[in-house]
Amino acid sequence: MQTSGTSARPTATGAARSAPASRPRTRRSRWAPVSAAAAVAAGLALAASGCASSHGPAVSASGADKTTVTIQLTPQGCAPKPARVPAGEVDFVVANKDADAVSEAELRTADLSKILGEQENLTPGLSGGFSLTIQPGSYKINCPGAAQQHWDFTVRGKATGPSWPSNPQLAAAVHSYASYVDRSTAGLISHTQEFCQAIDAGNLSRAQILYPRARVYYERIEPVAEIWGSLDTDIDGRWENPVTVPSQFIGFHKIEQLLWADSTLAGAPSLCAGLVKNEQQLLTLVRSAQYNPLEMSSGATDLINEAATSKITGEEERYSNTDFPVLAANVDGAMEVVALLRPYLQHKDPGLVTQIKTRDAAITALLARYQASPGYDDTGYVEYSAVLDPQRRQLSAAVNALAESLSQLSVQVSSG
């Protein structure tokens, strides 16, 4: 198989990691679990608006199906079949049966100014092709020497993302975020281990104090953990949301139920050991994961949505009433994303940065009203069940206002 020699796309080494479907998932994750290599590959492809690769066993970063387009070189031209395809990875298969005057097919931008992919030197009897990831838009298939040289080719659907790796500020933000997730996950493990030690030692009140201290690490990065849906459920699943099978209620909240609702440590040690094991598995996964600015920004919104729907209501920590520290952790996780994207956002949309700052400060000021020392279970806050409905309403308004601002981040990081 012959290819153009230009810009061969690196072959991805990791396939999309799909979660076992046996466990219910808390929510749809907007994050794609991709290996580092696949993400880099996708990024490069995007950066160059599609780069030809060898026609080999390339693995799609998203795991999506490839589309095949057949181009038959004839004296009349090079009509692509089909001439309309969905955005994503496209395989062009080019063949020349008996066209003496035509020996190549190129994919060009609609104005013909740029070659995006090509197959040259196809004399009669030869075939070849090229693959690339193409953004939605209008293109031309060009075959010099044919009666009709230019043929329309359309890619429809949603754009797959911006060319962020070429932007140093975005690339730095993504890089820093990956280490933030790694650090948080490592912190989760060490604090959960401490929590488990208190359980193993039979110290219930100590375990109650250590429970929220471990939880906050998870709540800062939850949208990432949700990539691996069943793992999220095993670590953080709540009864009836989404867990409905007692044997699958095995994470933090099962232990929370034992410690507070049942006032017992019976059964907790083995659950806690299993929890740490799952967290260690999570660490392995996040260490090989790659993120992009769009995922980061939508993840920030997800974190605050999470705070708005399950923390304000007191649903998340229903047995322990330790919703305050985890609510604060959701905000911390979201604001970490903002902090990392800030160098980029500062010139892109300074008004949005200011608005986010103001709204974050409003939450901080509200939370300060409920701070106490040492506080309920040493959390630094009062017990959440003591917060009356009108006060929850205020918190909710502040949290929703921040989420509304954060929801404007995605378009900023995706518009170059």
Partner: protein, 425 residues
Amino acid sequence: MISPGTDEPGKGAPTRRRLLAGAGAAGAGVVAAGLAGYFARPDGPDSPLGAESAGRDVTVPFYGRHQAGIATPAQDRLAFGTLNAVPGATRADLRDLLRAWTTAAARMTAGQPVGEDNRPYAPPVDTGEAVGSPVSRLTITLGYGPSLFDHRFGLADRKPSALAQLPPLPNENLDPDYTGGDLCVQACSDDPLVAFHAVRNLARIGMGVVEHHWMELGFGRTSTTTASQQTPRNLLGFKDGTRNIKAEQTRLMNDYVWVGPEADQPWLQRGSYLVARKIRIFVENWDRDYLQDQEHVIGRAKVSGAPLTGGTEFTVPDFAAQGSDGQPVIPADAHIRLASFEHNHGIRILRRGYSFTDGIDPQAGTLLGGLFFIAFMKDPAQFIRLQQSLAADALNEYIHHTGSAVFACPPGLRPGQYWGNTLFT
């Protein structure tokens, strides 16, 4: 909703061209010729069917002398939201919000989405549920509550003296969750989804500055506001609004509905006060009352709507008439007697209410529903007087006021003006 001058006798009825010009300024599409008819002849309707015959794809001009949604022929559906400013919201925040609301309201009432959605990575500007639904005479009416004029926004010196919380009134047990509000938005449309969409999108735009206090959906208008409309029925099963002020009665509108030059706050001229009362009707009890007693409680025949003193629905009740027993034919405690202008020094209000239900009372298993009363007036004192008169109302056995709010609705806008433009200068 009406072009300048249309409510003033002798100034001339609006031409169709003027209505269309107003609609065009709002970016509107269609204004039915029939709609102009509502205002073309102050003495009566062109068509006995009126609004009922109008198509769904009809816009009501957003800009005009008065806000739309007051004298506009009552639409079939209501979405009513009250909102409170969040702690820390500033005067500038409020001003910007009212500007953004104006733009959005002008678009929505013209049948357009709040914004164009063509950016794949931005949350849609418009929430989208009304796409494809005809605008169905959507109107959006804004009101300012008394609390808006406290210290927070530097508006204390702009507070109309008549804008105050209502005093305690008979037969009320107000739920704070359904009482008051810094702002209100009344969205009316013949399509419930279109009305709801308007309030939802305004609240969304307001996030970070205001938050919902309470919200009510109304599913059947209980008043006529124009002579061309059929009189609807409320959940009592009786015709409601027979003697309401009609938009065509321009003298009554000026005397009792529109704030005039007498206002202590010039910014409110051509505006009106909105009083909202959430009135629960104990329908189960009412339904057990025998027919004649129901008619005595109201003062009208149930089916025909005629007063007990005879005639047809529109026959003027004879409150002086006595039966052979020497008792008044329309009982002394009948609702229509106590609510009548004859009984209240001539005082009238423009009622524009809707039936509502919040579902079933979880404790009692009975219907949580009734009348979401809305009325417009020149001064809330009009409502206070009427409600005090109703202290002896026989109907009180079956109803209870559970929510209450009063708002000052600013006048209409010209294209290029914004809600709040006279408030913040």
